[in-house]
Amino acid sequence: MTAPWLELLDDTIRACAEFDRPDLAQRLRARRASLLGPARRVVVFGCPGQGKSQLVNALLGAAVCAVGDDVTTAVPAVLRHAETPTAAVLGAADAGGPVETATARANKHPEAVGAEIGLPRALLGSGMELVDAPPVGEPTGRRTELAMAALAEADCALLVSDATAALTPLELDLLGQVARLCPAVAVVLTKIDMVPRWRHVAEVDRNRLADAGLVAPVVPVSSVLRLAAAKANDRGLNAESGFTALVECLRAAVLADPAAAAGRAAAATCAVVIEELMGPVKARAAALPPAVSQDGLVKATKRVEQVQRDAARMQTQLADDVADLNSDVEYDLRDRTRRVLREVDDYFEEADPLKVWPEFSDWMRETLTTVAEANADWLLRRFEWIAGRLAAEVDDLPALLDSAGVDDLRTPRVEPFTPVQKMFVGLRGSYSGLLMSGLATTLAGLPLINPISIGAGVAFGARSVFEERGARLKRRQAVAKTAAQRHVDDFFLAYGKQTRDAVRLIHRALRDRLDEVARQVRADAAESAGRVKRAVEAANARRTELITGVRRDLTKLGTLRGRAEAARRPLTVPRGLTA
């Protein structure tokens, strides 16, 4: 079974690949390889002149790291277990020499990047390697760079701060940075042999660590006493040096359970990497498009309803107009025929039908033709007006659509009206023609006119011989009036029927045309609404997809981070020399 931390590390490496960060994956793979190695890496770091190298020397009981009163360490020294003492200077040609001077040679060589020393020490043999890092003080500089590089590989880090002064903001900041990368950190308070108030300084340091929210034990030690104890083989002195507590601390951090230490280090590295992966995802979450506006859709739906309402309203209007027209046309016809009759009455008050009948007959025909023509013309003009009004309304409809495409839409929509107009024009010709011819036939074929004229002429002619002149004339006149009235009545009936038929015909044509136009406009509006709806739905779907993606990524990284956080329990150790 693989260790849980290895699984976490592999999952994080996979996440790196998934989130397209091969650089981070590479880093983690390197870290994985080093974590799978046998030894845990303890890095000793801190500001210049705190006694880092001396601490390493005292810890191992050997003067392997060069020490001095000034800034001495220039490159990191890695101390490993070896059966016989060995030494190598990295990154530069080394003339060779005793193991004890290897770090001094590496420090002096401008091109050296480190020193590696193997020592037969039980502490190193139990699964630990020590790194004496160069001081971190200058914000930039080769020493700081080398130190930070060494810290990136650390499974446990010891911040060395001497007892002459409490932890500075710089040191706290540095420790905070290191603690993110490496969960096992401790502050080693050195030089307690020469500072009377080191207990006070240790207390201040603990308070400052607590204030900064850093979990790290403070271990006070004296390298001088430890070295003196090793020389004199003095157990009491060794206890005073505080190194027992430091070794205990290291034991708890790395030696007691190297797998757990590796797990903590892996978790910390993973946490940092996951945090880095989360950055872009969070940026993506912040940059999500806003919810799609429903305004367009609402507008389009409203427009469909409006178009329907308009169509219904126009049909009603057309029906009303036609009803008005029917009533007006009928009235007009009745009015005109009545006036003709009145004229006939007036005429036959004086004239003798016997004498004037042929002229009267011609006059009657002409007058009724004129009446029919005027009435028909008026009817057609009224229809034209109605159609015009509707056409204007229908024409206006596209203006309710979006301005785009109006020009395209207007033309086909207007054009269908031409047939209507054409029909009218045709009707006018053909209708009046039909009317006239029908009327002419009616008039010609009517027994009213010819037989009356003839019959009456015969009757009048015959009666005039026998009857008294005045009385006969009156009768003739009355007969002529009745005959004229009948004829006009017949004309009214026949022509009125024709008119109503024509009105119905035109009404139907108009209604059908209007229906057709309304259907078309409604179809257009519905299609446009559909388009808007589909666009809104597509945008919503895309947004939902993005949100889901970001949520999924965040959840995934969050889960990973949770696992990493759970696995990076901070280091807790006995407080050692504090009383």
Partner: protein, 373 residues
């Protein structure tokens, strides 16, 4: 130069009449010009400012006041903290970068103020610290200041204020057998906690006052029957710092005072310009040969200007002529007139780089002043 600065301050006072803040500022400049040289101890908390000042004065005055005038010879006002000053002692816990901004190539001395701790409190800690200071005086740090001095303020103060009781305690301890005493000197805890015939409370007080280094040093002196107090004073480095202040600051007090007054007036004129004042400041600055000398010295120290091509003798002569080693400017020069001719010839030598010719011109003018004195 001092006279020119005096008249500049007076001109400025006339120009800023009616402006109470500027007038108060200029009055303060005037007072500083006629007052003692102001030397400030500048350093971070815990760098040992007050301890050092108390040690220099020989009594704990910083508990009562933040400034004190001492005779150095010549009045010098010591200031605790980064106030207005003519020159500064910049306290560094250790000679490592990053160096503080307070360092000034012309008017500052870097002080390794807790030098005994650099060597871990060993008996030879101060010897090693002095070597360290000398090495850094030649290096990057030295270019940023006039001198680098290693001091143990605690030791110096303890030596200056040592009581008869403390002396007696020291002598009692020194009388103990070596086998008994040496293990007790391994650490502070051992010194205060060991079973020694001297009362523990006295030992705690002693190590608090002297530090472990002081205790070790005083006991070794007492065992040699030497005076612990003199030994502490000698080792503490307080003498070196007095000498450094006297040489680097007190001998040039007038120039330093004029320089700080000129800087102050310049800052006022820049912040709140008045017609003609900027030109007046510029005229005085340009005419101040002493300032040019100081700047050239600083450039020579920092390596911005190098006269190494002219030979070691010429470099040493130039430094002496410019007053790097105090008022005895002709110590390395046979005759000021021939020196004048020599340096003037260098100033006119077109084969030399511009920077060297300008430097030679400044030195020639110094020679001319020395020759006509």
């Amino acid at each position: 130069m001092l006279a020119a600065v005096w008249s500049l301050v007076d001109t400025a006072l006339a120009a800023y009449r009616g402006d109470p803040r500027a007038t108060a500022f200029l009055e303060a400049c005037r007072a500083a010009l006629s007052g003692p040289l102001r030397v400030a101890a500048v350093g971070a908390a815990g760098s040992g400012r007050s301890t050092l000042l108390d040690a220099i004065v020989g009594e704990p005055f910083t508990a009562r006041a933040s400034r004190l005038v001492v005779d150095w010879p010549g009045a010098v006002e010591l200031i605790d903290g980064d106030g207005d000053h003519d020159a500064a002692l910049v306290l560094l816990p250790r000679p490592a970068a990053p160096f503080p901004d307070a360092l000034d190539p012309v008017a500052s001395i870097a002080v390794l103020s807790r030098a005994d701790e650099l060597g871990g409190g060993r008996v030879d800690a101060m010897v090693s610290a002095r070597q360290l200071a000398r090495r850094h005086a030649r290096g990057e740090l030295g270019a940023l200041c006039q001198d680098v001095v290693a001091v143990s303020g605690l030791t110096a103060l303890a030596s200056a204020t040592m009581t008869a009781e403390e002396d007696a305690t020291l002598r009692a301890l020194a009388g103990l057998p070596r086998a008994e005493l040496e293990p007790a000197l391994l650490s502070v805890d051992r010194f205060t906690g060991s079973a020694l015939p001297v009362p523990a409370a006295e030992r705690v007080a002693l190590v608090e006052r002297l530090g472990l280094f002081g205790v070790r040093l005083a006991l070794s002196a007492a065992r040699r029957s030497a005076d612990p107090r003199a030994e502490l004073s000698r080792a503490s480095g307080v003498g070196e710092i007095r000498t450094a202040v006297a040489e680097c600051f007190a001998d040039r007090a007038d120039t330093l005072r004029a320089r700080s007054a000129l800087t102050a007036v310049d800052s006022l004129v820049r912040a709140d310009p008045r017609p003609g004042m900027a030109a007046e400041v510029e005229r005085v600055t340009a005419g101040a040969h002493e300032l040019r000398e100081l700047r050239l010295l600083a450039s020579l120290r920092s390596g911005r200007v190098s006269l190494d091509d002219l030979g070691d003798d010429a470099v040493t002569e130039a430094r002496y002529l410019l007053g790097a080693a105090g008022p005895n400017r002709l110590a390395c020069t046979d005759d000021p007139y021939t020196a004048l001719l020599r340096w003037r010839a260098r100033a006119l030598d077109t084969t030399l780089p511009d920077a060297q010719r300008r430097a030679a011109g400044i030195i020639a003018r110094t020679c001319a002043a020395l020759a006509t004195r």
